[in-house]
């Protein structure tokens, strides 16, 4: 019996255990996405006989004789479906990976639907839901002429709402082989033997790769412009496994089913080794060694003045220990790559990556290939958040393709994202702050321990970044910081939005809130007394010689927060109300250079083709690049087409990380346009402009978050009554899009502040390996945040711009904890502030603290 898909009969019979999602994708309907493959995220939503279902948990055999509509079939001869029109008009997406699912869900809902309930089966990790809400409610937006400063829509918008945008796996590669990875059940073990005989006997299994097949070269999965930033401690396949979930063997087969069966048939014998899970234990003498040598893979010691003496002499001192847990990036598109050899025998790697050029470099180093023999491309990337500044799959896929000469795909499952990718570094921060009676900070002393997991990727760099801008934003004559990045036998940590800053800022901004209370001073005034000001130097010159206060909007950010304190709110009866704030600073790029090439060609058609190396994963850099080019060239944005994230296009690009899409790649675009204009003016062809930017000097961007909350004494629920985020992004290139970045950052940070925690049990196993166990914020969880932009103009970035992608995340958790403190009198020092933990903390102090509300008046700004 046939299955009708978008009106067309499909006669191919589904496999017995196949879900409708993979059936449809095998039929070429790539708009049907895999986000979770478990019915939780809704990215695969289709209609069966008009009824919306999650196709990943719908048995494909049940579709026989029925009519299926996917996002590709929603539009008709009249044009886009109203749901598609609304998502396009509201720009209700960023990476767009979840959008088809939203459009299909919206198309099935009445206009008066109860959205918080109706959308609980649709997850978006990028937007923070405000733009999705606009799309659901039919709120459009005005679009200017597309020059810098106007709200140009994303060029990919029409493709995203129709399912035509091509993400990593949305390609049909003939003869594709499938890879599945057998993973370690032990947190630490030596592999004694691997017998693949039974696996190789399974029909369809082509090869089994083990450590005996892998290069002995050590590398780091972290991708940085300067590889020496990360310890080389990783092999493609190792004979020692150091965390539960580490690769043991890779099975390549004609089908995923055969590859899975092959994994089950590989016989591995292990000699289990002692393991250590806690970083403090790992630092003690005699602790099991995760690698040869010390477990402390990164150290940082800063001494300015004498913090101990200053603490002794301070009028007030606050000390506390703060903890942030592991978190998962939860990009809706999982990690993965597919690769093949092109007609010239060159390795072509199509990957879900933020760093095509650095991944090419790493592959060449690993497999001893010249750069000319490897091409790395990224399609549209379904979310990154730092998780894809990492080479987690490409090395293994390359090994297989180079050995077999056939195309190979490895696509992570959602469970593998949790158990075998990377997480946000868990931090423990002990902080002591001293101040004089007038509110002047006199001492800051921190002991910072980060758990880098079994591998050191990003460990030392995250530690360094964590302790820099978090402290450098304040004047303080006496500072001591001792930081340690420590190996344990747990899932590796890696780059995550904010790159360590959020963890230390949670501690510092919480502690400053307490200092303000000790002084009877409002928290905004305390900040104003101590923040850096225009003309100030930023930290010790030997460490940050190219970092400047290119522009300064922190005062404006604090003013916006101060005004927010006065806004009236309505709270449920009997719930104490509190207000809190925090601020953050971030450098507009990494130290040591961040490079981008851009090229723009005037086409015979009169259009322009802009080529950049930087990847688009919802950060909106493509839109900004078009706006920069349109503005510089004085032409309509519609004349500019963009090619991107392909190592064949330009010389080099460090990558879309460290908040550089606008300020580095954008600057290269501007230079390319200026070059082209000069060539056109001279009249000498070819009319191609080139731009190169090295990411230096750098400036700083600022953020400040304000919350007003009510806390239920009965259930521990924190209800956010008011949320204001002030951001100094320099000249805002695209206000609607930048606002979306801020809203998305606030929402993601609220997730880690209120719900999210990747849990690891006593045996080192991740126990939260699905969205049912790891709650991402849904539409119902995220409040509206009012976004206020400071009015500044920066000389470092293109046309006055500064970064605004990672940084909105950073002040959110402490602002929330400070508001809860204000409401309840309870200082919560560990994230997440989940309802059960909040309630427990409230109960623990009920007997000793004045009635809630008694302290709420203290510490408020005038």
């Amino acid at each position: 019996m046939t299955i009708r898909v978008n009106g067309e009969p499909h006669d191919e019979k589904p496999r017995p255990g196949q879900c409708l999602r993979t059936y449809l994708r095998e039929q070429g309907l790539f708009g049907v996405k895999k986000g979770c493959d478990a019915g939780d995220c809704g990215a695969c939503t289709v209609h069966v006989d008009g009824m919306p279902v999650h196709s990943c948990v719908y048995p494909a055999v049940r579709a026989a004789g029925r009519s299926v509509t996917t996002v590709e079939g929603l539009a008709d001869a009249e044009g886009l479906h109203p749901a598609q029109q609304r998502f396009l008009a509201a720009q209700g997406f960023q990476c767009g990976f979840c959008t088809a699912g939203y459009v299909m869900t919206a198309a099935a809902l009445d206009r008066d639907a109860d959205l918080p309930r109706a959308l609980k089966g649709n997850l978006c990790r990028c937007t923070g839901y405000r733009s999705i809400d606009n799309a659901m409610c039919g709120v459009g937006r005005a679009v200017g002429d597309g020059t810098v400063g106007t709200d140009l829509g994303a060029p990919a918008g029409p493709d995203i709402v129709t399912g035509a945008a091509r993400y990593t796996f949305d390609v049909d590669v003939p003869g594709l082989l499938h890879m599945k990875v057998l993973r370690s059940p032990h947190p630490h073990a030596r592999i004694v033997s691997i017998d693949a005989t039974a696996a190789l006997a399974i029909p369809g299994v082509v090869a089994v790769f083990t450590h005996e097949d892998a290069p002995t070269t050590l590398f780091s999965t972290a991708r940085h412009e300067h590889p020496e930033e990360d310890p080389d401690d990783t092999r493609v396949l190792d004979d020692v496994v150091r965390f539960v979930g580490q690769r043991v063997a890779a099975v390549v087969a004609e089908t995923e089913a055969a590859a899975e069966a092959g994994c089950r048939a590989v016989d591995v014998r292990y000699r289990v080794l002692p393991a250590v899970f806690d970083p403090e234990e790992a630092m003690r003498p005699g602790a099991p060694k995760v690698h040869a040598g010390t477990n402390v893979i990164g150290e940082l010691h800063q001494r300015h003045g004498d913090a101990d003496a200053a603490l002794d002499a301070a009028d007030v001192v606050y000390e506390g220990t703060f903890h942030t847990p592991r978190a998962q990036h939860a990009a809706l598109e999982t990690h993965g790559a597919l690769a093949w050899l092109d007609d010239d025998g060159r390795l072509v790697m199509r990957s879900s990556t933020q760093t095509p050029f650095l991944t090419r470099r790493a592959l060449c180093a690993l497999f001893d290939l010249p750069l000319s023999q490897v091409r790395v491309v990224a399609g549209r990337v379904g979310g990154g958040f730092g998780g894809k500044q990492e080479m987690l799959v490409e090395d293994l896929v390359a090994l297989a393709v180079l050995r077999l000469g056939r195309p190979v795909k490895l696509e992570y499952t959602r469970a593998e994202q949790f158990t075998a990718a990377t997480v946000r570094h868990p931090f423990t921060v002990r902080v002591a702050v001293g101040a004089s009676r007038d509110g002047t900070l006199t001492a800051l002393k921190l002991r910072v321990v980060s758990n880098t997991g079994a591998y050191g990727n990003h460990g030392p760099s995250v530690l360094g970044h964590a302790c820099h801008e978090s402290l450098a934003v304040y004047h303080c004559p006496n500072v001591t910081v001792d930081g340690f990045a420590v190996y344990t036998n747990t899932v590796p940590s890696g780059a995550f939005r904010g790159y360590g800053l959020g963890q230390v800022i949670f501690a510092v901004e919480s502690a400053l809130d307490e200092v303000a209370r000790l002084l009877g001073m409002d928290p905004v005034t305390l900040r104003e007394r101590n923040i850096i000001r225009p003309g100030d130097a930023l930290g010790p010159p030997d460490e940050v010689d190219d970092l400047t206060l290119g522009s300064y909007g922190l005062d404006q950010c604090l003013s916006a927060v101060r005004s927010a304190y006065a806004r009236p709110v309505a709270a449920p009866d009997g719930w104490p109300v509190g207000r809190g704030m925090a601020l953050s600073m971030i450098a507009t790029g990494p130290p040591g250079g961040h490079f981008a090439d851009a090229r723009i060609a005037l086409l015979p058609s009169g259009g322009y083709e802009l080529s950049v190396g930087s990847a688009e994963f919802g950060n909106g850099s493509t839109t900004v690049h078009v706006q920069i080019a349109a503005t510089a060239l004085g032409v309509s944005p519609s004349l500019i087409s963009v090619r991107q994230s392909d190592t064949d296009l330009v010389g080099h690009d460090t990558g879309a990380f460290a908040s550089t899409g606008t300020v580095v790649a954008g600057r290269a675009v501007l230079l390319a346009c200026e070059d082209l204009l000069a060539r056109v003016e001279s009249g000498e062809g070819p009319f191609v402009g080139h731009g190169h930017w090295a990411g230096s000097p750098r400036s700083v961007a600022f953020n400040a978050q304000y919350f007003c909350v009510a806390v239920s004494p009965d259930t521990g629920e924190i209800r956010i009554l008011d949320s204001v985020h002030a951001a100094d992004a320099g000249t805002v290139m695209n206000p609607a899009q930048c606002r979306g970045q801020v809203e998305g950052g606030v929402a993601q940070a609220l997730g880690t502040a209120m719900f999210e925690e990747v849990r690891v049990d006593d045996h080192g196993r991740v126990t939260t390996a699905a969205f049912r166990q790891y709650h991402l914020p849904t539409y119902a969880d995220v409040p509206r945040t009012e976004v206020v932009f400071a009015d500044t103009d920066d000389p470092c970035g293109p046309m006055g711009a500064k970064s605004m992608s990672e940084s909105p995340f950073n002040p959110v958790a402490p602002a929330l904890a400070n508001a809860v403190r204000d409401a309840t009198g309870v200082r919560l020092t560990s994230l997440p502030l989940s309802r059960d933990r909040v309630w427990l903390a409230l109960r623990a102090v009920t007997a000793t603290v004045p009635a809630p509300g008694a302290t709420a008046g203290a510490g408020r700004p005038d």
Binding site: C19, A38, G42, V53, K120, D714, T715, T768, D836, R837
Partner: protein, 268 residues
């Protein structure tokens, strides 16, 4: 996700003999949501074409294959005025969205036996009795409260099939009160309590989600607050509250006592 070990889908109605590796396929929303490496054959219950909902003088029979959406849309006879609101409250307690409701079944939720299964809450609160077709061809009746034996475990033998759950008319004539708590808005239940005040004046309080299996407390009349609290603490030991990522046990215990008292007041 694809269940790649499944080699065959067979109509359950045409089944000769159940064998190890078989799995009953109702909606499939759980089965297809996790790897099932031991499953080699799916037995499709749709082939039975059971009527989803049958209301008689004796009560309401809900087929195991009745979808959550069908139940949600059910319009009960006027003699059961509290039934529809309670059904809808319980459906809203699903973590899963309305799109899953279109496919997921009442029987699937019962047999999955998660503490937070809201169809367990609903049917346990309304004296639901399961009809089970056993693997050796008999028909067996058992209360919902005995079907669920623990977190994810049920009292059925391999090959036994849940046919339906019947809510007796005697349990449908009263008024009800519903409370649910979760770590997040519209999230998975950490505690779900249903109170039922029968025309006789009796109160039946059913605790679910905070305990691994449904706990029922019956009172001939509305108890006072102290009696209610004492009954709960006597019936549910402190260490019997669920401890998982959906809420700490102490908090669940607190919510249970809090909600019970709210329900007592509402129904008094």
């Amino acid at each position: 996700m694809d269940l790649n070990t499944v080699a065959e889908v067979r109509d359950a109605a045409a089944l000769d003999r159940w064998r190890p590796g078989d799995a009953w396929l109702a909606g499939g929303t759980y089965l297809f949501s996790e790897p099932q490496p031991g499953v080699t054959r799916l037995l499709d219950l749709a082939s039975f074409n059971w009527a989803p909902l049958t209301a008689t003088d004796n009560g309401l029979e809900i087929a195991a294959t009745c979808t959550v959406a069908e139940l949600f849309g059910f319009e009960p006879p006027v003699r059961w005025p509290a039934l529809q609101p309670l059904i809808q409250q319980c459906c809203h307690a699903f973590l899963a969205s309305f799109k899953i409701w279109n496919v997921a079944t009442v029987g699937g939720n019962l047999c999955n036996a998660l503490p937070a299964g809201p169809m367990i809450s609903l049917t346990a609160a309304l004296d639901g009795v399961c009809t089970v077709l056993t693997v050796d061809g008999r028909t067996r009746l058992m209360p919902v409260t005995e079907l669920v034996t623990g977190a994810g475990t049920i009292a059925l033998a391999p090959g036994d099939l849940l046919r339906s759950v019947t809510l007796p008319g005697t349990a449908l004539g009263g008024t009800t009160a519903f409370r649910q708590g979760s770590l997040n808005t519209h999230g998975r239940s950490a505690a779900l309590l249903i109170g039922r005040r029968d025309p006789s004046g009796a109160l039946v309080l059913t605790v679910t989600a905070s305990t691994v299996r449904p706990v029922r407390l019956s009172f001939p009349t509305i108890p006072d607050a102290a009696m209610l609290r004492a009954a709960i603490t006597a019936t549910i030991p402190d260490d019997a509250y669920v401890d998982d990522v959906h809420g700490l046990p102490e908090w669940r215990r607190h919510l249970t006592l809090l909600f019970a008292e709210e329900i007592r007041r509402e129904l008094a």
